[in-house]
Amino acid sequence: MKFLLQRIAFYLFTAWAALTINFFIPRMIPGDPVTSLINKFQGQMSTEAINSLYVLFGLDKDASLWGQYVDYWGQVFRGDLGLSFTFFPTPVADILGQSLPWTIALVGITTFASFMIGTSLGVLAGWRRGSWLDGLLPVTTFLSSIPYFWLGLLAITLLAGPGSIFPSSGGYEPGLVPSWNGEFIGSAIQHSLLPAVTILISSVSGWILSMRNMMVTVASEDYITVAHAKGLPERRVMVSYAARNALLPNVSGFALSLGFIVGGTLLVEIVFSYPGIGYNLFQAVGAKDYPLMQGIFLVITLSVLVANLMADIAYLLLDPRTRKEG
């Protein structure tokens, strides 16, 4: 309990610091949304439009940085994230609400799957050293060393295309309206196959490796020898003694990666034209859309923190040593 309270205090501090940074970084960026918009419309928007845009975005009024900072916190507490510039005047919250589910569904599920698959393979590879699984390691290492966007583009070129079951972009069939019906879900799943597989390929190796190494380390612990000495079935020794303990250090890694689901998806979403939050961030950066950037950072920061808190709790539940009586 004490441990938890300590952690929460720590998280509050980190959240404050991270959000403050989130506030200041976009404001340090030279250039502003209007010029970015004009750049974007090279020649398609006349220079007269500049002034009207400043008025439109409310950038014609000068507010002190401190005043903005106070406002920012007020907004954060009210859950009001302001209006996006890129999609003016859509509230940032709406944009996030629209893209977050996609990101979470695609990357969340894949990260989880990658962790599960990687960990299971790692358990086997660590337990049966010298078996064929060891041959898998260099291959996965190579695959994970490939820059993600490259892998994705290559996959699109080789696998997607006319007549293929893999669509090359988007989150669902263009004509469909998101709803909970079979057609839509089927289409969404179909569209997520290729991104999911490529994420899996490029991220599974890390899990295999760290789990394997932990297994190797744990396998020479005395309690494993004791478990063998007790004549327990090998499966039980492997799962409930070795893997169970080897998993512990990976839990925090997993939590961290869950936190990075939101932030780490930029490339996936760019490459696969996936309608998620990472692509929004990319757009926001390009358009100097600070409200959107801040909103996304807020989501990322909070999700990392929540993931970490969950990891702490999971650790608490999984490792009795951190549990204290009373």
Partner: protein, 343 residues
């Protein structure tokens, strides 16, 4: 997704092994590790290219020619771009930027992580609390988006700037690992003993603690280099960084913006990507080598199949020690009785 893939976690929980391993003479053994050796050779190759690349490149990488989008040929080994530029030359010349950014960012991040991690671990108390909080904040902020934003803010961000930005934003993980390790080293007897001998704090940190952190520092360095190379290439690829010189990311940026794959110009896309993958693999191999070097358990895990003198192979298994030469009839007949039988 970048951070946890590191295998540093596997290094940290090691207790005495870390202390016992890095004795100077055993350091050479590191090179004897086949993984590390392969990695080092490949890395050395890229380093050489980074140095001599611009001289051995057959063409000026920016020079246009009339061979537009030509597939690989004797004249242009890796084909040409939409402007008739020689891709082989671009890859050669681009190596320098990649290596420079990777190494510099690695050095900056490693220096920072050592500075912050070791001081936090050694000083303890309020200094530790605040430094850990700092690194945690940096851990929580996702690196790639941060780098993208920061890189896009800096006017005329060249290689140097990109390297610095990557270095300044990616030290936190290493600092955390180093702090934990320093914390455990600080309580080691030999550190106390050095203090009891009268060594100054400064000297204890640099001469007693740091040498024992070399493996972790090295692996952190290699990890950051991988991350930096990937980030730099990503930045160039999505057109954020403003590198005026060639690097592999720039090549891919051009390939992508000219939709090389849709045009069927695979040669524009493949060499740079492969080069990155090979460099990344080499660096990962070095890291495996370091891991195995640091943790003897991992080291011995390499060869689980062994050959006896008479040519049999024996597979080592935890919990079931192999018995040599007992394949013949056992000395006494085995009639196994279980408890149930007896009962």
């Amino acid at each position: 997704m970048s951070a946890p893939a590191s295998t540093i976690t596997a290094v940290t929980p090691e207790g005495p092994e870390v202390a016992a391993a890095p004795a100077k003479r055993r350091r050479l053994r590191f090179v004897a590790n086949p993984k590390a050796a392969t990695g080092l050779i490949v890395l050395a190759f890229f380093c050489v290219i980074a140095v001599i690349g611009p001289w051995i490149a057959p063409y000026d990488p920016s020079a246009r020619s009339s061979d537009l989008i030509q597939p690989p040929s004797g004249k242009h080994w890796f084909g040409t771009t939409h402007l008739g530029q020689d891709i082989f030359s671009q890859v050669l010349v681009g190596t320098r930027g990649v290596m420079f950014v990777g190494l510099l960012a690695g050095i900056v991040a490693t220096a920072l992580s050592v500075l912050i991690g070791v001081s936090a671990g050694f000083l303890g108390g309020a200094a530790d609390e605040s430094l850990s909080a700092l690194s945690n904040v940096f851990l929580v902020i996702p690196a790639l988006p941060l780098i993208i934003i920061v890189a896009s803010t800096i006017p005329s961000a060249g290689d140097l700037m990109v390297a610095l930005v990557i270095g300044l934003t990616s030290w936190a993980w290493g600092a955390r690992v180093l702090r934990a390790q320093t914390l455990s080293l600080r309580r080691r007897d030999y550190v106390e003993a050095a203090r009891a001998t009268g060594e100054t704090t400064w000297r204890i940190i640099t001469a007693e603690i740091m040498p024992n952190l070399t493996a972790i520092i090295a692996s952190g360095f290699v990890g950051t280099v991988i991350f930096a190379v990937m980030s730099e290439i990503t930045l160039a690829f999505i057109g954020i960084s403003t590198i005026s010189e060639w690097n592999w990311g720039t090549i891919l940026f051009w390939a992508q913006s000219q939709q090389a794959l849709a045009q069927g110009a695979w040669w524009w896309f493949v060499p740079a990507g492969l080069a990155i993958a090979i460099l990344g693999t080499a660096l990962s191999l070095i890291n495996f080598g370091i891991d195995e070097f640091v943790s003897p358990r991992l080291r011995s895990s390499g060869h689980t199949r062994m050959r006896t003198k008479d040519g049999h192979t024996v597979r080592m298994r935890v919990g079931f020690t192999p018995v040599l030469g007992s394949k013949e009839q056992p000395a006494t007949p085995v009639v196994r009785r279980t408890k149930e039988d007896a009962a």
